[in-house]
Symmetry: C2
Subunit: 351 residues, 2 copies
């Protein structure tokens, strides 16, 4: 059964009239087409028994194998649509708001909801082909990182390293799943700082969080490095704690448990060592076409872990003004247990 | 006057209660912060006399100089907000719909509109500092393209060339403004096809449409190439027509005219030669932080061209099954006239 049909089968159980999808990961998932989101509406409409796409004229030749409603630049795209008013519409979560606002104001739905309520069920459980791509992706990404890191030298800036890594990953893999994070010393205590003009010094903690796209699927891995031995021996202690948290959580992944229980396990290890207040984010997130997707391994999340889900386990400890440590793997649930896709060492790499 | 204040001054003229901005170009424009959009709300709220940001805990240290409302993973972010119901809200056009849908369903606004109705007025007219960055960006981008194109060899696939170009641009410039388009022969008649596994052959038309980000500002340029002389002499005739259309439009840019008039001028040149039906898109688009922004140089667009606007002029002719030709420059309106930022030749480059 193709993916549009699987979505339609789910729609049958609801009173949804339309699912509207932009040029996002959901469009790629449903019809295999990917494009950056832009200001021209390029939207897929799925109903219980039909689907069609609203596309600008300049995509017509490229998409001719699909059922198209075509408009030209200068025409009003929405006037080509014949959506019924007062309907129940689900909108693709990451589609740009301008389309949602037009739909809302033009077609007066009685309800607008997030398409993820249905699509997440389909996407969070991967099929074997998807898992194979993701396994290969992680392998490839790891090889590339090991090839890259010897090029990190003292006095390069974080952004210089980030740029070289990004250029290298794209040259070798074609696509990245997000702009890599390269932070060092005190900057590493900010988990989502991308990089700065700070120069990397010997003995500082360096955090690298990066991913590629492999046949459309994202990878996401974090490891920690140091040029020579770390100056601050506390860094090695913290690495040990984060590594234990990571491994404890991974070891206890079971089909049927709740996402929050995985978070609890990692968090308990860190809290027991007195660093709970410095673990300032969730333990992980699902991954697939998107680098972040369901299930989220968050405190309080009751989602049940199922066979063939893939998610990250990435506890961290962030000491403001000092450094931060995060160790991130991807885990797939197979035969009831968690199988870690990563093979890189979790200890700090001394470069 | 800072940009938040300029926005607030515009809000004074309206009955808008909140402008809500995601981690998009508008956030960069207003507060200088840029981040990829993700599932965690990281939103800027602007009212007539105040502003604040809703941010995940893991960004707190990084953004501490701004007025923050912080939530932790596992908490309900929206419960931290105290927005009044029945308000008039403008939402940032390219913010993910999931945030808009939450705002809609949680805070029951009486009206939801697009923030671009106000922000476009600010953003489409650049200040001198922005224009200087954009001029430097185009210069840099052109140098990089000329450095790159000698590496294009017969039998490389389009996607191989695309990947090498992307990797090179990122390595040299740090960021690209969009994934480059590299198409050849019959594929070049699809204006937004990115690339394929088709091998590039001698004598075929090759279209390269690419851009970098320079200090946060996008460039966007298209030129046409051929390995050796083109096999089809029609290609050279079509290049001449497209070049005339491009130059006629550029020459006639004037402060005070309407956007549609520029489109008309380019379109007339192509239509007079009998190819009007093959010019399947608008003549251009504004450019700045975003690669596509107001003003759109589209048929029927009554927007008035003002001093310090920057936009592209990019007519094209697409002959399905044969080839497509597009020539794209950036133009800034200065002293009442259009000043072309590009210097690359418009004739087909024989490599």
């Amino acid at each position: 059964m193709d993916r549009i049909q699987r979505l339609q089968k789910e729609l049958e159980k609801t009173d949804t009239d339309y699912v509207i999808i932009g040029t996002t990961s959901n469009m790629f998932y449903l019809v295999g087409f990917s494009e950056e989101q832009m200001e021209r509406p390029l939207l897929l409409f799925v109903t219980k028994d039909d689907y069609f796409m609203l596309v600008p004229k300049l995509y017509e030749e490229q998409l001719k194998q699909l059922p198209l409603i075509v408009y030209r630049d200068g025409e009003d795209p929405y006037s080509k649509l014949n959506l019924k008013e007062n309907s129940n519409i689900l909108i693709d979560d990451t589609t740009f708001s301008l389309f949602t606002i037009e739909i809302l104001n033009r077609f007066k739905p009685r309800r607008l909801g997030k398409a993820s309520v249905i699509l997440r069920k389909l996407r969070q459980v991967k099929d074997d082909e998807e898992i194979e791509k993701m396994e290969k992706g992680v392998k490839k990404a790891e090889e590339l990182l090991l090839e890259f890191v010897p090029d990190i030298k003292e006095n390069m800036t974080e952004c210089e390293i980030e740029r070289k890594l990004k250029s290298f990953l794209i040259g070798e893999a074609g696509y990245i799943s997000f702009d890599p994070i390269v932070t060092s010393g005190p900057n590493s205590s900010m988990p989502h700082l991308r990089c700065s003009d700070k120069k990397v010094k010997g003995g500082e903690v360096i955090v690298i969080d990066y991913g590629i796209k492999y046949e459309g699927y994202s990878t996401d891995t974090t490891r920690v490095f140091s040029l020579g031995r770390p100056n601050d021996t506390l860094a090695l202690e913290i690495v040990e704690i984060v590594k234990s948290a990571n491994e404890e959580a991974e070891k206890h992944v079971r089909e049927g448990m709740r996402a929050k229980e995985i978070d609890d396990i990692a968090r308990k290890v860190i809290t027991d060592k007195g660093y709970g207040v410095y673990f300032i984010h969730r333990t992980g997130h699902g991954i697939g076409i998107d680098v972040h997707e369901d299930p989220y391994i968050s405190p309080g999340n009751d989602d049940v872990i199922e066979q063939n889900m893939v998610f990250t386990i990435e506890p961290g400890i962030y000491l403001p003004g000092k450094f931060g440590i995060r160790i991130e793997d991807e885990v797939v649930v197979k035969k009831g247990y968690g199988k870690v896709l990563n093979t890189l060492q979790k200890e700090l790499y001394i470069l």
